[in-house]
Amino acid sequence: MLRIPPAARTMLAIALVAAAAAADDPSAWWSYQPIADPAPPKVADPGWCRNGIDHFVVARLEAEGLEPPPEADRSTLIRRATFDLTGLPPSPEEVERFLADDSEGAWAALIDRLLASPQYGEQWGRHWLDLVRYADTNGFERDSDKPGAWRYRDWVVEALNEDKPYDRFLVEQLAGDELPDRTFESMVATGYYRLGMWDDEVPDLKQAQFDDLDGIVDVTARTMLGVGLGCARCHDHKGDPIPQSDYYAFAAYFAGVRPYKTAAGNSIEAANVTRRIAESFGRVDPTDEHAKYLKERAELIAQLTELQGRVPAPPPSAAAGRPLAAHYEFEVARDADESARSIVASSVPGPAARVADLTFGERGRYGLAATFDGGDDRLTLDNPIGEDFTISFWLKTDRIARGSDTDPRWFLGAGLIDGELPGVVDDFGIAVVGSGIVAAGVGHPETFVHSPPGYNDGLWHHVALTREQPTGVVRLFVDGWMAQEARGGTQPLRAPRTLTIGGANPGGGAFSGQLDDIRLYSAALAPREVLSLATEVAADQAEAIAAGLAERDAAEWSASLARLEGLAPPATEGEPILCVVEAKGAPPPMHVLTRGSPHAPAALVEPAPPKVLGTYESPAFEPAHGESTGRRTALARWITDPRNPLTARVAVNRIWQHHFGQGLVGSASDFGHFGEKPTHPELLDWLARRFIRDGWSVKAMHRLIMESAAYRMSSVPSTETLARDEANAFLSRQRMRRVSSEELRDSILSASGTMNSSMGGSGDRPPLPPAVLATSSRPDEVWPLTAEPSWTRRSLYLHQKRSLQDPLLASFDQADIDNTCPVRFTTVQPTQSLILLNGEFANAQARKLADRLEREHPGDRGAQVNRAVELAYGRKATSDEVREGSEFIESMVREGHDDDDARALFALMLLNSNEFLHID
């Protein structure tokens, strides 16, 4: 059983529509016309009307000869309003207060309270996220995390909570980076461009880039304009007067947006899709803490190097005398002969490294370096190190590697030095994970250490990992700074015979970037020795150098060295945020693509709005901040121009949809010829006008709609209305609706009293059934649990992973993560009943609800049943229900269940009941 948004259409219908459209003027379609300014019609029974909306609704009912229905009762009203605005049930106390308040302004005060609650943004943010197909991961083989995508989600929630005007809400997403008053938040808003799926290992790069662009074009046109522009990608639109060239002219607004990647390898390019921006960006002077850090560090190093140069007999080089077991300098020319390119010799006595497909001869940190392409490039060598060791090397990459910023365990990333034996514990490895996190692990249970993100900035960085067996101390250094120290096990390592360099073993994440000066020591170097390797400052010879210097110089040397040792990269430095980045200079030209193929470019096009909507001039481009063309600003201004016939209509229709279960235009993202016509066209225009006049305030629109008598109608049909308006096209009643998947899970948490209402931050991964994890290709790694308190946060914050969904949410019609979803399905399937009746989550929560009942009303069966009904249904229990519920619990006790279990079974029954799942 199901209700599906627009489906089942036909080529014939299309042909018919097209023929009809051609006969008339296709651009005469209702939604392309300017928004009218209708006055609310006069009605026979104005007494029913509370505001202008009602005049339109009653006029229609009167025209159909139908009576407006009675108002819903007050407990229904508060439950309806609370769910609509917050996605949560009202608490029994809130219900009680509302029922007790018979003042004139009680309803308005309730709406104000709900609109002011932070949960409002969470609920309406979810509606928006459905449209823009928000996801935390990219999909495909690795389904890797989108770094910091959650910031965009939080931005949406916050924008709604602060009632950011809807036009500004759109402008920031489309062009937040181009605004003269841009801020950290407006930059985050452009994460809008990065939400689509992305295959980091594409069979056809150009095709993939255009598929990604198509996603942006399609989502923008459907979500903001209600136009199915995507249909014109391959040919002229079959229903609407949109030629193929209009599609590409629209796409040209985004031509400068850099794609996820521009070269081969299984990674994505950090510089194309992220920027490191401090949260103070745009608010205070854009001081770059990171730049200050780099400058200070460079000055200290220069000073120390200069000072140590004054010592007449310089002390021996760094870490001299330590047991260097292998040293690879990669001084191999690009055109060196085959033998030099197949084996890299160690420059100290040690094993030679075998080469699989490396590129040599690129400029390195010292001389030349080895370049790994992110594919099958590898070095392998016989492991020369044992229990105590130091691995030191220089690293340079500009890629976002495999693995997640929120779970930086090294083996999930792109392998650098891998001493792991598959399936064997007590080994070790180093990798770069996600947004340039250097991560390592040693031993069993494995001791994990990692750096902050950001070392994928295309600069050389020194990395060292030390392990000392007697103490179990493991240290990870980046650029000589100790990023993390941990005390691990002291057991012997079962290090493998072969070390792999450039990839995780076997065949896992491959490194894309360069490595140089790899050193393997059979001893754990001290921090000062590592600093010496990283900086050329002879920190490990500090005493000898100080002794050789004049007293003043020696003091300066020691002081500066101490400062260098204590100098950490600024923690306040901006983390990489997912946002739009434009290529410098002129954007690539945009062509019409024959049959949509990027390999068949035809006529050149310039950015322009769809012609059928081009009834007013489109704004000029204003290049902003010297970073971009200003094209996206021009588009954003054109979309949010009050003269645009679609933007405001589409927006108010979506707000209406979530208050009445269905939009005035049912096809909420298609106002064109394939869509449905509005049931109340004048009302739609009246609302759109009000919306613009009220400064595009979404909250004002909620108030207007909710204060109408129409919103407060009962959802129970009379025999008359059921016979005459079965589909409720005339709005002869409110629409009863099933709670959404998120509302269901959140209501359960709310009833049981276990909800953690903290907001924002990276996505949560609560436990999932092992059977669900087993569907992943990496059952043991795919879903690292987040901290336990996060398990009961609102469903909005669940980590949105494309290849793995929470079964409860998926079963109750969560939006498909890969597609824009304007209207959710409402299906009834037995899997829903099974999950809610037998599933671990439902049963555990039922038990928590039962415990709550006992806690709040110890030993009082009747009060417990009443309380449970209040929590689940938002109303008091009837005496029949109290009696029946109590009898049920008693009967369960007779079946041999203890009191707690019996109460939990009653709670479970309530959580499965239709009244819990439906809103009148």
Binding site: A774, S811, D816, D818, L834, N838
Partner: protein, 495 residues
């Protein structure tokens, strides 16, 4: 019970639309044809079965309402997915040249995960080939059992796909597109035909014990279709379907009492709320779920199968036990009307599936050894029970493998989407034939090549569906499994 709000023109107190909806409350619902079918229902309705879309006189209505479009030759599909990409040139596509040139470096264009290459070192096949059956089909020593079934099999030896990378190639084989978000084959079949058995899911997926394939649930997703059409993961041991079993802490009797109590509360609730068929549907859905709790375990209970049957599938041997169980389960499921069963050989990554990048011999000996006898057992068992005629069995991976070595040393082969072999049997497929061929090295299909979409078109065709007429409107387009431009079945295969 007399409902004062009972509408006129109703079936047992329900409008026809409600009746259809409620009847569709089972797994994967009623067939589209039934939903759209006759007796004036559609003429009276302003909207389609979804309750939303305006449904004027339309071709979709007519073509969809006519499902099946022609006489179905198959009622069910069993898709044996050899995940990772088995090597066609080591299994069924015999290339004598490869044996003679073993170890020689030759010029040959290839494209795999390692990128484009124009030459490579030939790796000779590691198994001997021989001809089998009356048809004389070539089969390597990897499949001694399957070799006895070749006269029922049609090989397609010039398959090609659009991606040599697992992630996108898997999506293409399962959903016809390189990108996620589209419904999979099993979803399309159930959308078109519905399930015969309301107590079992119509689209069942059985995974390898090492884990799912890359992209996990995307491989059985219903994409933009409702969740009722998505594949249901079925396990051969333990709780066969997620949360099917009543928690151990409560008896069946108590479960029944909970459901009775629930029914009471729901009935009281519905009394005051006529006109919402969903409420009734949900009440029914709990009863269906309860029935499933007994019917589904019966379907997966192999204890009633004879010892001889177990031996036929190899469930009595450690090596073939896992895949044998799944093949036997697949037979039991199609016997009970499940439309589409997909069984994965291999899971996870690397050598846990057919992705033989390093040691071809070790990898393929392992995976073929685990599947050969069970697959042959399945074909034989279906045949002797008269089920093979109505069950379409499909075998293959997301692509094949290259004739040349991937690395400087070793026998590993990289991916090859330019030419590979798949086979079909039963369900209206001609047995004992082979169509298409690859070049002398097996690196690329030559002559008549067959796109994955043509395989999909063939499968739909045998199920009685015109692949170009089964459409689903989403996002302004009439989507099809075979793509908007359509495709035709592979004519030579059709019996």
């Amino acid at each position: 019970m007399t409902d004062p709000h009972q509408p006129k023109d109703s079936f047992c107190g329900r409008t026809r639309r409600e009746f259809l909806w409620q009847a569709g409350g089972g797994f994967t619902s009623l067939a589209l044809a039934d939903l759209l079918a006759g007796d004036g229902f559609l003429g009276r309705q302003a909207v389609a079965f979804d309750g939303v879309t305006p449904l004027a006189t339309s071709l979709a209505k007519r073509t969809l309402a006519q499902l099946p479009h022609h006489v179905a030759r198959a009622k069910s599909v069993i898709f044996l997915f050899m995940y990772g990409g088995p090597s066609h040139i080591d299994t069924f596509d015999y290339k004598p040249e490869l044996f003679t040139h073993d170890g020689k470096t030759v010029e040959v264009k290839t494209k795999g995960r390692g990128g484009d290459k124009s030459e490579g070192r030939i790796v000779g096949p590691k198994w001997k080939f021989a001809q089998h059956g009356q048809s004389g089909a070539w089969v390597s020593d990897l499949f001694p059992h399957l070799a006895t079934c070749v006269d029922d099999i049609a090989f397609v030896k010039s398959m090609y796909a659009e991606s040599p990378i697992h992630g996108s190639a898997m999506l293409m084989m399962n959903s016809g597109r390189l990108l996620g978000g589209s419904p999979c084959m099993g979803s399309w079949v159930n959308y078109g035909l519905g399930s015969v058995n309301r107590n079992l899911p119509g689209f069942v997926v059985m995974l390898d014990s090492t884990g799912g394939p890359i992209s996990g649930a995307k491989n059985w997703s219903s994409g933009f279709m409702p969740a009722m059409y998505q594949g249901c993961v079925l396990r051969g041991q333990g709780d066969p379907i997620l949360d099917l079993a009543t928690p151990a802490s409560r008896s069946e009797q108590v479960q029944r009492r909970v459901l009775d109590e629930l029914k009471g509360w729901n009935t009281r609730h519905a009394l005051l709320r006529s006109g919402n068929p969903e409420l009734e549907g949900r009440i029914e859905s709990y009863e269906l779920a309860y029935r499933m709790q007994s019917t589904a375990p019966e379907a997966v209970d192999l204890s009633g199968e004879s010892k001889e049957t177990h031996e036929l599938y190899g469930t009595d041997e450690a090596r073939t036990e896992e895949f044998g169980r799944k093949c036997l389960l697949a037979r039991r499921l199609v016997e009970r009307g499940v439309r589409f069963v997909q069984v994965y050989s291999g899971g996870s990554h690397n050598d846990a599936n057919w992705d033989a990048h390093d040691d071809l011999k070790k990898n393929h000996d392992y995976h073929a050894g685990r599947t050969d006898k069970p697959i042959a057992g399945l074909l034989k068992d279906l045949k002797r029970r008269g089920l093979l005629d109505e069950t379409l069995v499909v075998w293959g991976g997301e692509f094949g493998r290259q004739p040349t070595a991937e690395y400087a040393v070793g026998t590993g082969r990289d991916h090859n989407s330019w030419g590979f072999t798949m086979w079909l049997a039963g369900g209206g497929i001609k047995g004992g034939i082979s169509v298409g061929e690859t070049d002398e090295l097996g690196s690329i299909g030559v002559g008549r090549r067959f796109h994955v979409k043509e395989l999909h078109a063939t499968i739909l065709n045998r199920m009685g569906i015109d692949p170009n007429a089964l459409t689903y409107f989403y996002g302004g387009l009439d989507h099809k499994l075979v793509g908007v431009e359509g495709s035709e079945p592979i004519g030579d295969l059709l019996a």
